[in-house]
Symmetry: C2
């Protein structure tokens, strides 16, 4: 079990290296939803997403022998960038297995951070077998993007900072993909903001967490098609039980609402968020969450801002 102490230790480990990201509000959005909404802006985090918190915590937690071996993971997205940067800042090697269809922007970022990239076919099997080969060859330590207690402790630090800044909100909303961010958010609320309800939002086109949560039977994600590319993964053996126990509800949203919510954030808040980050606000747009009081205070974890602007044409 991840303890209160584990989370505080993660906060201590990343202090001074990870950004204490700003919490922003927008009068227009508050007025639209009759709520006080506080956006915890992990799009301003190093490497552009909350993932840096977990990756840095994991790397700082390695013993000296493991540090010499370096770290490895397969990822097409934000974890790859976060791990590459966290490794470089700590002077250790990072080996990333990336599917051949990864976005050019993300591949370039991982390269810029000095990581070794091995490309593979874009299937889970190829990613896992290629990663195994890389690890066999290099002895590098695998850092799983979410199914890892230290990673989860690191992701929990975003919520710690949010609560430090705004006090205990009535609700915290977070997106859910593999469940690393959501598990960390729910545990942080449990330990440090016990009156807060934690609600997750998920694309209905990738509703494995929604199904797993409500049926209480694990349902994997099978080739989901959603614009929210950070939320396509399935829950893990560590994240699923935490979510079952500590999350209050999971709701789903349409692709249309995700785009509308993203546009609302871009236009009104003047910040760039990636589609995954707009999923909780999409749940408000769809009126999917029943709030028990008027004018609730709501924290929203804005997961990241890594988006290929060249792809925008299809959205707006």
């Amino acid at each position: 079990m991840i303890s209160r102490k584990d989370i505080l230790k993660a906060a201590e480990l990343i202090k001074g290296t990870a950004h204490k990201t700003p919490v922003l509000s927008c009068c227009t959005i508050n007025k639209m939803f009759g709520a006080k909404i506080f956006f915890k802006c992990e799009n301003f985090q190093k490497a552009g997403a909350f993932k840096f918190r977990g990756a840095l915590t994991a790397i700082k937690s390695l013993d000296e022998n493991s540090k010499k071996k370096g770290v490895a993971a397969h990822s097409s997205g934000n974890h790859a960038q976060a791990l590459a940067l966290a490794a470089r800042l700590n002077g250790i090697k990072a080996h990333l297995v990336m599917p051949s269809n990864s976005s050019k922007v993300k591949v370039e970022a991982v390269k810029d951070y000095g990581a070794q990239i091995t490309f593979c076919e874009p299937t889970l099997e190829a990613r896992e077998s290629t990663l195994k080969n890389v690890m066999d060859k290099t002895n590098a330590i695998e850092i799983h993007p979410y199914n890892n207690k230290i990673i989860i402790s690191g992701q929990a630090t975003a919520t710690i900072e949010l609560i430090d800044e705004i006090g205990q909100p009535d609700y915290i909303l977070a997106p859910v993909g593999g469940g690393g961010l959501l598990s960390g958010t729910a545990l942080a609320a449990h330990y440090f903001s016990s009156s807060t309800k934690v609600i997750a939002a998920e694309p209905e086109n990738a509703n494995d967490a929604y199904l797993s949560f409500h049926s209480k039977k694990f349902s994997p994600s099978i080739n989901p098609q959603t614009i929210a590319d950070g939320l396509r993964t399935s829950l893990g053996s560590i994240t699923y039980p935490i979510i079952l126990e500590y999350v209050n509800d999971i709701v789903t949203v349409s692709e249309r609402s995700i785009i509308d919510a993203m546009r609302l954030i871009w236009e009104r808040m003047k910040i760039i968020v990636e589609p995954s980050s707009a999923v909780p606000l999409a749940a408000l747009l769809e009126n999917k969450i029943h709030f028990e009081k008027k004018q609730p205070t709501i924290g929203i974890i804005v997961s990241g801002g890594n988006i290929d602007l060249g792809e925008l044409k299809s959205y707006f």
Copy 2:
């Protein structure tokens, strides 16, 4: 002449109503240019641009009798939104003359802020004659968007805040259109940061300020075609002499560089800025400014973030 006192008075008048906007930095951008760059983010200002500072200062400076009459201006852009919002917050009427081709987003925003809109043909003559009619009918007081000492004092407050936060930078860069922001910036630097050089950047497709500055002979802007829609206006009779006296240099940039700089800010800083705001960074991209020392500290006034996302398709 606008005095040190006038600027401090403006700062006092807008305190608590205008946002003290954040100053952001980006490691990647600093590294690219070998400089420490501090972005003063007026895109997060109320109504999405620095214009709110001037409009609020002007409205708060009206006597009671004038307040009863209301205010008026012609504007297709940020001044219209700023004046409408500043008027509403002070319980006074705003009459805006907007050209019929104004962007829908901006018209909607002005309407939302409760202003009376009169549409006219999209020519300067029609704007001026329609404004005169509106003023004759309503007795409203004209608040010119830039050729107005009180407006200039208000725009100067962005630089006051920047200097308060980062100390005296070696350079401050600002875009120039009508020159309200630039005049305020140069005067604030003159009074409160005398070691700072102020350099303006302008689209080469709208280079009237560049020509007027270097030839020392006023050159108006004639139907300029630039993506930087906030910078199409000519200098005014009040702004031009201030700029001649207090600005160190004006450089021009290409449309391509403006788009590249805007994209760089969006992708790396995760904030939405409008094309006009990217013009100073475009000058760095084009290597147009000769800095006298290595690793200079540079403040950049990010003028605003009001952009029609529907138009993005043509940029990226």
